[in-house]
Subunit: 364 residues, 4 copies
Amino acid sequence: MKNTFGQSLSVTLFGESHGPYIGAVLDGLAPGMDIDEDFIKHQLLLRRPSGRISTSRVEQDEYILASGVFNGKTTGTPLSILIPNTVQRSSDYENRPRIARPGHADYTASVKYHGYEDFRGGGHFSGRITAAIVAAGAIVIPALRKKNIMIGTHIKSCGGIKDRDFIDYQDDIKKLSDTDFPVLDDTKAFQIRQMMESVAKEGDSVGGVLETVVTGMCAGVGEPWFETVEGRLSYAMYSIPAIKGVQFGDAFDMVDKKGSEYNDSFCISGDHVETRTNHNGGINGGITNGMPIIFRCAVKPTPSIYKEQDSIDLKTKEEVKLKIEGRHDPAIIHRARIVVDSMTALTLYDMLAQRYGTDFFFGE
Amino acid sequence: MKNTFGQSLSVTLFGESHGPYIGAVLDGLAPGMDIDEDFIKHQLLLRRPSGRISTSRVEQDEYILASGVFNGKTTGTPLSILIPNTVQRSSDYENRPRIARPGHADYTASVKYHGYEDFRGGGHFSGRITAAIVAAGAIVIPALRKKNIMIGTHIKSCGGIKDRDFIDYQDDIKKLSDTDFPVLDDTKAFQIRQMMESVAKEGDSVGGVLETVVTGMCAGVGEPWFETVEGRLSYAMYSIPAIKGVQFGDAFDMVDKKGSEYNDSFCISGDHVETRTNHNGGINGGITNGMPIIFRCAVKPTPSIYKEQDSIDLKTKEEVKLKIEGRHDPAIIHRARIVVDSMTALTLYDMLAQRYGTDFFFGE
Amino acid sequence: MKNTFGQSLSVTLFGESHGPYIGAVLDGLAPGMDIDEDFIKHQLLLRRPSGRISTSRVEQDEYILASGVFNGKTTGTPLSILIPNTVQRSSDYENRPRIARPGHADYTASVKYHGYEDFRGGGHFSGRITAAIVAAGAIVIPALRKKNIMIGTHIKSCGGIKDRDFIDYQDDIKKLSDTDFPVLDDTKAFQIRQMMESVAKEGDSVGGVLETVVTGMCAGVGEPWFETVEGRLSYAMYSIPAIKGVQFGDAFDMVDKKGSEYNDSFCISGDHVETRTNHNGGINGGITNGMPIIFRCAVKPTPSIYKEQDSIDLKTKEEVKLKIEGRHDPAIIHRARIVVDSMTALTLYDMLAQRYGTDFFFGE
Amino acid sequence: MKNTFGQSLSVTLFGESHGPYIGAVLDGLAPGMDIDEDFIKHQLLLRRPSGRISTSRVEQDEYILASGVFNGKTTGTPLSILIPNTVQRSSDYENRPRIARPGHADYTASVKYHGYEDFRGGGHFSGRITAAIVAAGAIVIPALRKKNIMIGTHIKSCGGIKDRDFIDYQDDIKKLSDTDFPVLDDTKAFQIRQMMESVAKEGDSVGGVLETVVTGMCAGVGEPWFETVEGRLSYAMYSIPAIKGVQFGDAFDMVDKKGSEYNDSFCISGDHVETRTNHNGGINGGITNGMPIIFRCAVKPTPSIYKEQDSIDLKTKEEVKLKIEGRHDPAIIHRARIVVDSMTALTLYDMLAQRYGTDFFFGE
């Protein structure tokens, strides 16, 4: 499998930035799940660029549910989502030398596809494709919520500015669900926005760290070798452009501590087992332990910058200078978080359906 | 798939710490590959505990090649490796209350398997199982080397002590291949050993960061969505007990830098394309770019410590105090690195065979 | 995987008879393959119903290549095909009691999907969906032909009338490629058509046997356990509605013979190995032997008949009489053959790309 | 995947006829399932050659459960089975020219594996490997029986002699479970044995048709495209050496009938839905309908015959005469049936666990 992931629920992604459609096929959904079209639109809106800190190309992100939905509910057969590309300014890209943009996939794609790739706007590697992931995620997130599984992601840090930690998971997740700039502390949100705008003026870009929490996952999901929860989620995260690091719990941040500090001791809370701390991020031996799953993703600075860079011409294989123009994001971390939420939801849906059967999310 | 990974080459792992055998099946190997039994023994030796900083249980790690080898070469049919468990001191574990060891999989396994798991010595979750991974890796590493693909891992940091950076990849990898304590700087190696012994005396444990480099990978391997090189390798790494974080290139370490600093600009070196820096760890858009693949793994402190901890009795579901006795490692990071090398080799073999066909490593 | 098959090349199918689109995603195509739009139309035409022996619903089978094609060639990224449903007469199906049509999937679908399936026109189970398979096949068949792999299927027998055997594979395959009624002997073709029309008048239906030959496959493709060529092809065939039996070579037809009669003895022909007979259908031990692959599919009589039948109401679970009206095929065997060719092509493309790498069909 | 099949339950097979071990790994078993060692031995006994109609090589088929079993029950982790090869008369095979046996995989294996395959006794292609399948099947058959799913296979016909049809499925399956010569009619059993012995004297061999029934499968299991029950079962069957045809229900046998004769009309029996006839073999649209699953496999005559045959020398590529000596079966159909039962059980276990979750067969 290449552009398909998942076993009980599998997601297939297709499309290029400047082709007629991008889309996704979700196969393995339970029948009878409610399709919440307002929610799909809401999620797409959270991914959509807006304001001075995003590209000025704004797609309407209309979508078509081309199959798998009947009378407002899933049928259980493959649900396909089509998103037309309507605002294509191909003249921005064509009839120019093909210069590899540093940090992008231009060069690697040209090697892999021998130059036959649709390179316009990054083609199949464009962040645009994540719109289909977000729409796909919006199909399964309501089903997870019905099972009390809540997912939320905030900007843990950006350009050296740190957001506050999660305090109350439920309240914080709710807050994050409603905002297109996912920072928990409003003052820090303001500072980060300002910093992004300032970086934009320099023609440069920034990255940061996203922190995700999943509450409500039952214990006992995952496999020791090799289908660990960490392995599955990190596999999913690395599909998201610009994510270059993933850690579960405190990992890199507590790597110099001792076992006596890192171990999460067990206790009984009411009628169920908990851990007193959660340095392991809700996962032991690759399997959920019932505590919140917590992970962080390193998002590298957006590679599209306006400063002159050294590069090569892909056709002539000569060194050239590159100065990117057109529409680009000085930061994508705030938009990436909804893609993180969506990939997380799709992965967990799959793992739960593998364990508990395809009817686990059956809608009645 | 649960205990199987890979597509063109698939690896299936089985066994428990105190059962008769652990083992692995490698399916999809090219025919005619040389089996180097000395190398298998050498690799197993690098994983084996030794000295004061490791458990006193020392298995001989004898192994049987039960199928797939004929006249000293692979046949192309499934190669199975059996490793008998010979030094089982089950009395250490049986007839005792089953208390969940914090940081271990005892609790999550008991939820997942409803108490039917073989819990002796961690059972299927035991680090012991990695011996089979190392033996499996030792089958494919020579084939990768014939293609000039070299893999090396050192302890980047441990307990706050940092090793030097790679200087000359080939020399450093060679050095690492021959030592059972993979630290590049000899002084730092001595300091880390001393620190480990001191921690052992406290009954505590340490973790650290492993850094891996792969040289010689051609450009153009990997898939954008979802079969990225990062996704595949991190998926593999998370199978290794105690690994809780993985990053490619500089990721978390350079997350506060700007795009102009993070981007790796392209240049022409002789007749091929290179990047001037390698912050992206040899991967753009999920696809290799021909530069060395570099990644780091966060290894949490070994959860087996001798200090008293709070925990629960898995049968009675009551809170109890736990004081672990028996044989355990105060640090496993130096032993884990050969497992990292092996999982890396198995993953890359698979990705290359998927792209170039099952005969890519054909031995003639 | 449910509605996806294949590994190196994977095909994902979606859509319902009365939804907005049906379609397929092909992932794993080599880059640079020529897209022959005339050939796609030609193949769709061979599947399309026509004349008195087919349903009077005639879709135009317009299609959209929504991704994966650039400048008339494959890009190597997922190629998606959308086929709009334009002639939907939903009033034929809605506001009626839901009576399970015998021989159809109405009942099994209602159990599997708990009544949430889109039942109109058979929904996801409709033969209509095979249009997407045929379009998908039309992407890869030209690539196979460039490698001298030719596929042809004729009606071996129908309603007791037998076609002649293959005489010259190349000539016969060519003849079959150009006709929408795939019978080699023209007299028999006429008789079968007449018989079908006569059966249509009775409101009944007929089935038959399709025989497929594949020439030009190299020896050495397939796996003994479990990925046999027979296993892969039969798996593919059983996806085609109405196919209930598959055999390779002479199988059921020579089951009473002895080993000395069934064995295909080897000989040398020029510089390569052949077998004197081909009772094994080009496959030994699950692996191609270089002889033509020959297999036959039993196509049951089309279940849609106009005679009154006993059945049940899916909602009330009461016994009722069913008299089907609307548009249906008295025979689909002549239309099914192009679906057989297409599934064969997609399966063999996948097996070859697995063995020889994703660039095996690279277009340059 | 090559030598692994299944998703929720996956089975990996390894070993060669003359290597130290053959074996299987079952991954995805529910925990807490009873292991019935007597039953494993019983099943192995039904596969074992015996008497004048079988090869005189008789392995004891000792087996080792090397992992995944604890206190007589499955743990839920991979269960591995090792079967030592004890009676190897390699001198029968070595130091001789390598002549391809017609009907065997000798030639195709030598092409696929470039001559590196372990050819002794057929190596990985030997019927011997099916012992591991039978042992694997013996792990899951008791779990299916607990769910009232019963599987039985008889020799429908052999050498022109036909067994009677099933009369009472439960009684007949019980009878078949206890005999090593699976013919329902005792007179026919005697005739078939006599015929086999007579064929053996000629140095020839016979094949036949096996008919399998599965009772107790619930409705609603299977997927329309492409994971049909027919596709999954036939894929499994074609792994069994000598099986060259598979059909579900009446297929080839009723191909000349009309839809009005072939359709299985629905009725209500007590509180559940049935069909009056079962020409479709319990499957509609690829999905079980709750009726018994019925399928037939064409078993070609055993290719090992003692008559002189034309063949080629695999090393010199010259035509030679072949006269096989050594130990071989004049008929394997009676031994193949327990392999059919086992592959059926493993496939259905997987499909049920995919649909209802990995705990569906949980043992408590």
